[in-house]
């Protein structure tokens, strides 16, 4: 049995205009020590998926169906207290923006120690020692000093390393990392990914890595899940997906990378953009952007098909001619909203 | 056990120097800390205090026999030289010198006899004597440590006398926090051993806001309050455990019609029309809740000049007729200014008057100002009708005429408050003559005639005399010590002990 199993997960947000489904019918599993990548464009529901694993979806969101099974127990029906003892202890999370994730008014030490104390009966002194040890593991220079510093005194890369240290503090079974490096520079990103990979391998920790950078996925993970508009559309071993994607969307994503084209030539683009949750087309959600769409795509949600490790949700897998580049039709429709949403003055 | 009186006035004494400012507050203090030579009784006659008796020696001289064995708070003995010293100081005081100007000399005949001498026959010697609160001449002589004369009178700075006090009165000031509280203790060596007064300690707190002051009495925080606003009279009357004492007051409230600014006011008929248009009864009843006596003249009942024949003449039809006669059937426009925190309900009264005038076609543009800004306006005579209330410092009718109706004369200063510029030399002469007449009865006739003349001229608009009211807890027998001058003789106050 897999360490983590997510079955037919449905997550909805009760908005003023009605309910919107952020995740539909999402299933995947993770073995002990396995590294899984989740990719997809912005708004695909990657973060929602990550938060749902720890049942951290805040109001107005809620889990409308499905189950999350961790080590044999079902997380989504668990009592809050019991859940608390799993969070940060057996499954921990790393967030996207290291600048926002640490509480600005508490010292690094305090934020590490409280985490230990929440899960272990341990003296402050011992907790401090463990914290120091973990800081050493993530190669933080002069860790002793860092414990008494505030987050703002550290650079972004350093903070993300501290967050990794916090995630590792209680030797969890799984780390869920939601775009841990998008806010960082290339060189630092490489460092952090390397560190994460190293630590996960060393301690046999499972990793769910959420990102939209296919390059990162290809370097770190063993299996990959591709999401589009709240659904998983393709999953399989990373190598296979990169080299031989089945779903037109996955193909499009990979082909759109500049690395895949000769310098200076036209890039292979997917036309249009991902629908907002309130405006998901009937049938296959990708049909308006898909060149292979036929009538059935407009009506029926595709089921997973596929042999062996690779599974893909597309009606047209077999009909498609592989490697056909995309028709560059530029003009597309503006996003029309059926429910007026508040204008946010960010 | 000590008997304490907790009382609230609308203000506390501005200074402890009773010669610094002539005001109700000063006089109230004077009667607690000092004793006058003589004082008014309830019938507006005189009772001897530090003067046992007095007699007129001749037309120009009055002799006072002083009480012996009286001690000041400082322990000094009271003698005639203190009286002389005090009168001399009064003549230096800006506020009091007018009252004592007629006296050319004050003589100590012996240790316990003094004479007040005037140049001309002067009928108001005794009135003036009520202002003589002999001060402790020894105590106030010499210099302070920082070289200030102890008897200095100054308004804008801190003098010795404004901080220290030694009188002969029933109470000694023991603690004073200006604006917050002043505490008095009974003077142990007080000469008047016959006084029924049994209060050992008085704590006076200023509470300016009317409602709060009344609330303090009703909630039992205060034993005695004054003044009581008209709107709350009924409440205090009804409430168990407290009682109210009312008296007709002596302060006349009037409007003056400016003849220099408004041509129409030069016409006697118009002035009369204004008088006929105004419902003094209505104002007294409705606005003042009966807390005022409608007036048709300046002198209140009990004053020599009070003319009982003169009655308010409210008659709108007559007023309209007079306006028509004068050629102002369609009326005219005037401006009116009144203070809004000087007299009881001053602004409301002005409003009521304005609406009454509107009924005979006189459209009034009314402004009300706080007193600090009102007086400069008044001095500048900046409106066509202005409100003025007057209390005679001498408790005598002549004072009203001198300030309110005399033909204004900048040199002699008479008519200083006659903003209407009403001028009738005959009236002035009548009052001048009265001021040389020492025969009370004759003098009264003359003054009453003067009142009648002004009434016929409709020289101004008399409204009412503001009444006085005090509220007290039951068992505090304030009635006997109160008077129309509004200086309670608290030395004689009795609090019932259970």
């Amino acid at each position: 049995m897999a360490l983590l199993e997510v079955n037919n997960l449905d997550v909805r947000f009760a908005m003023r205009g009605g309910e919107v489904c952020a995740l539909r019918d999402v299933s995947f599993s993770l073995e002990r020590g396995e590294r899984l990548g989740i990719v997809g464009e912005s708004g695909a529901g990657k973060s929602v998926a990550a938060f749902t694993i720890l049942n951290l979806i805040a109001k107005p969101g809620y889990i409308a169906g499905g189950e999350i099974k961790f080590d044999g127990t079902v997380l989504n029906t668990m009592k809050p207290k019991a859940l608390q003892s799993i969070r940060g202890n057996r499954i921990s999370m790393i967030f996207q923006d290291p600048m926002m994730t640490l509480n600005p008014v508490l010292t690094i030490g305090a934020q590490m120690i409280e985490c230990l104390k929440a899960h272990r009966r341990i003296s402050t002194k011992d907790a401090r020692a463990i914290a120091l040890h973990k800081l050493n593991q993530v190669f933080i220079p002069s860790p002793e000093k860092r414990l008494d510093q505030y987050p703002h005194e550290l650079s972004g890369g350093m903070r993300q390393r501290i967050i990794i240290a916090i995630a590792l503090l209680l030797d969890p079974d799984i780390i869920v990392a939601d775009e841990p490096t998008t806010a960082l520079d290339v060189t630092i990103q490489a460092e952090i990914m390397e560190l994460l990979l190293l630590l996960c391998e060393k301690h046999n920790v499972g990793l769910i890595l959420i990102t939209h950078d296919l390059g990162v996925v290809s370097q770190v993970t063993q299996r990959t899940l591709v999401m589009y508009a709240g659904r998983v559309i393709e999953q399989g071993p990373t190598r296979e997906i990169i080299n031989d994607a089945q779903h037109p969307y996955t193909q499009g994503l990979i082909n759109a990378l500049p690395q895949m084209a000769t310098p200076g030539s036209r890039l292979n683009q997917i036309r249009g953009s991902m629908p907002t949750l309130t405006k998901i087309p009937a049938g296959c959600a990708f049909n308006p952007r898909c060149d292979f769409a036929s009538d059935i795509c407009l009506q029926e949600v595709p089921n997973f098909v596929g042999s062996g490790n690779c599974k893909v949700a597309c009606h047209m897998v077999d009909a498609m001619v592989k490697g056909q580049p995309w028709t560059p039709i530029l003009t597309d429709k503006p996003v029309t909203k059926t429910v007026p949403l508040p204008e946010v003055n960010a | 056990e000590d008997v304490t009186l907790r009382m609230a006035y609308d203000a506390d004494p501005v200074t402890l120097d009773i010669h610094e400012q002539l005001s109700g507050g000063t006089l109230q203090l004077s009667h607690m800390v000092y004793d006058p030579l003589i004082r008014w009784n309830k019938d507006l006659g005189f009772d001897g205090r530090l003067a046992k008796s007095w007699e007129r020696v001749d037309d120009n001289t009055m002799r006072f026999h002083l009480r012996e064995g009286v001690k000041f708070h400082s322990g000094n003995d009271f003698t005639a030289k203190d009286v002389v010293w005090t009168v001399e100081r009064l003549k230096k005081s800006a506020d009091f010198k007018a009252i004592f100007a007629p006296f050319s000399e004050v003589k100590a005949v012996d240790d316990y006899t003094v004479e007040l001498v005037t140049d001309k026959p002067f009928p108001l010697v005794l009135n003036a004597a009520t202002y003589i609160f002999p001060m402790d001449s020894e105590f106030y002589s010499g210099d302070t440590d920082d070289g200030q004369a102890k008897d200095e009178i100054a308004k804008a700075s801190n003098t010795f006398a404004s901080r220290n006090v030694s009188g002969t009165g029933p109470y000694v000031v023991t603690d004073r926090q200006q604006g917050v509280r002043i505490t008095f203790d009974r003077f142990e060596d007080y000469w008047d051993t016959e006084s029924p007064g049994n209060v050992d300690e008085i704590v006076l707190t200023p509470i300016k806001e009317n409602a709060t002051r009344v609330a303090a009495l009703l909630s039992g925080d205060m034993d005695f309050i004054a003044p009581v606003p008209p709107t709350d009279l009924e409440r205090i009357r009804k409430q168990d455990g407290v009682h109210l004492v009312e008296m007709g007051g002596t302060r006349i409230i009037t409007f003056q019609m400016n003849q220099e600014r408004v041509e129409a006011f030069k016409d006697k008929r118009v002035r009369q029309a204004v008088n006929y248009a105004i419902n003094q009864e209505g104002i007294a009843q409705k606005l003042m809740k009966g807390f005022a006596t409608p007036a048709a003249q300046m002198s209140p009942d009990g004053y020599q000049g009070h003319n009982p024949e003169l009655k308010p003449r409210y008659d709108v039809a007559k007023a309209k007729e007079l306006m028509k006669e004068a050629g102002y059937e369609d009326g005219f426009k005037i401006t009116m200014t009144a203070p809004n925190n000087r007299y009881v309900n001053d602004a409301k009264i002005a409003q009521a008057v304005a609406s009454m005038l509107a009924k005979i076609g006189i459209q009034v543009d009314l402004k009300t100002l706080p007193k600090a800004q009102y007086w400069p306006e008044f001095d500048a005579r900046s409106a066509d009708m202005m409100m003025i209330g007057w209390h005679s410092d001498t408790e005598d009718s002549a004072n009203f005429f001198e300030f309110l109706t005399y033909c204004p004369d900048a040199d002699s200063g008479v008519g200083q408050y006659n903003s209407g510029n009403y001028c009738n030399p005959d009236v002035d002469k009548m009052v001048n003559d009265a001021n040389l007449e020492t025969d009370t009865e004759k003098r009264a006739k003359m003054l009453q005639a003067a009142e009648k003349a002004v009434y016929d001229d409709a020289g101004f608009v008399p409204l009412h005399w503001q009444n006085l009211a005090w509220g007290a807890r039951d068992g505090i027998e304030i009635e006997p010590v109160l008077n129309v001058m509004n200086f309670p003789y608290l030395g004689d106050l009795v609090i019932e002990q259970d």
Partner: protein, 355 residues
């Protein structure tokens, strides 16, 4: 008519030879510092018993010299905070340089009064990073596009303006009928195209693009990049393209400038830079790109922390993290030297310690 998109070299080559290689924008010894110390009073500090005035600066750019040649797409790459945007904004006149000069087409523009600058404003335009903030939310697309036109070409009548706008909108793939809509009704990629349309509306020669695609999804990035390349082709545009995505640079740029902490460390044409990065920083940068096809990351690990631009290190700004640094690097600031492929500022390269 069927025509394949050309490689950068081909594109340069197709230009008529007179214009080719001619310098359009010249940046000389550009310096920019921002005061950190606020007003006079905030600068006072108490040191050793006496009051002193102490001023702190962020040294965002420290002497950058760069030419942009007509018709090229010069890419600027570097770490976050190294001054890329500051260079762009100084060139555009949004910031006044603290030192050095900026010339456009041979005329010095950095110290020009705003009035005289107007004709140049039309010739140079900018595209911004954040598609959600770069359009005025209270203006319709039509208004957004019309305004610069009316301002810069007051002689045009309404009809001409409308035609012109329809043209640009079509050329970026936006239906002219949607002109009456507001920005929030469009997706990120569409907004970015509208921004491009706004820049193109006044027919500029030179466009500064400050990370125009980094906020966009991969599939949309391709749309925008394609559009920019088409526009360059059709309108003979020159780009100063700022990015931190080296894959994009490799695809799009004719030449690349690598910056580190406010200084230029290497400048070369794209092909040669990717083939043979000279500067140790460039090398580290290159090695950090996650490639789809290699399994394991194999990058050059840089030691140490990025120094702050407030207290610049002496000598070469990179020496603290450079595996090849020696004493000279810690003392002497390296100057740009010309190599066979471009220019590089590194003592080690100069000395031949690295090739």
């Amino acid at each position: 008519m069927s025509q394949a998109i050309l490689t950068p070299e081909q594109r340069l080559a197709t230009h008529d030879s007179a214009a080719l290689g001619e310098t359009l924008v010249e940046i000389r010894d550009l310096e920019k510092r921002f005061s950190l110390s606020g007003d006079f009073l905030e600068q006072l500090t108490f040191e050793k018993g006496r009051l002193r005035r102490k001023q702190e600066y962020v040294h965002a750019i420290n002497g950058v010299t760069l030419d942009v040649k007509r018709g090229e797409a010069l890419c600027v790459v570097g770490e976050s905070g190294c001054g890329k945007s500051t260079v762009a904004r100084t060139v555009m006149g949004l910031l006044k340089p603290s030192g050095g000069e900026v010339c456009f087409d041979g005329t010095r523009i950095d110290n020009m009064p705003p009035r005289d600058l107007l004709p140049y404003r039309r010739r140079m335009q900018m595209i911004f990073q954040n598609p959600y903030a770069s359009l005025n939310p209270r203006m319709t697309i039509q208004q957004t596009l019309e305004e610069p036109l009316r301002f810069h070409q007051p002689t045009l009548n309404n009809g001409e303006i409308r035609d012109k706008i329809e043209d640009v909108m079509r050329s970026v793939g936006i239906d002219p009928d949607w002109g009456k809509r507001y920005a929030h009704e469009f997706s990120g990629g569409q907004r970015q195209r509208i921004s491009i349309a706004r820049a193109l509306a006044v027919d500029p020669e030179f466009i500064v693009a400050d990370e125009p695609i980094s906020a966009l999804d991969v599939s949309i990035q391709a749309q925008v990049l394609n559009l920019m390349m088409e526009a360059q082709e059709q309108r003979d545009l020159t780009y100063l393209f700022i990015t931190h995505d080296l894959a994009v640079v490799e695809h799009f740029g004719t030449r690349v400038a690598v910056m580190y902490l406010g200084t230029l460390c290497e400048l070369a044409d794209t092909r040669s830079l990717f083939a043979r990065p000279r500067h140790p920083y460039t090398q580290a940068l290159m090695s950090a790109i996650p490639r789809l096809n290699d399994d394991k990351a194999n990058h050059i690990r840089l030691e140490g922390e990025v120094p702050t631009p407030v207290n610049l290190p002496p000598g070469c700004v990179f020496h603290g993290r450079c595996p090849h640094a020696n004493d000279r690097c810690r003392i002497e600031i390296p100057r740009l030297i010309t190599t066979d492929t471009g220019q590089v500022a590194c003592h080690a390269v100069e000395e031949g310690r690295i090739d």
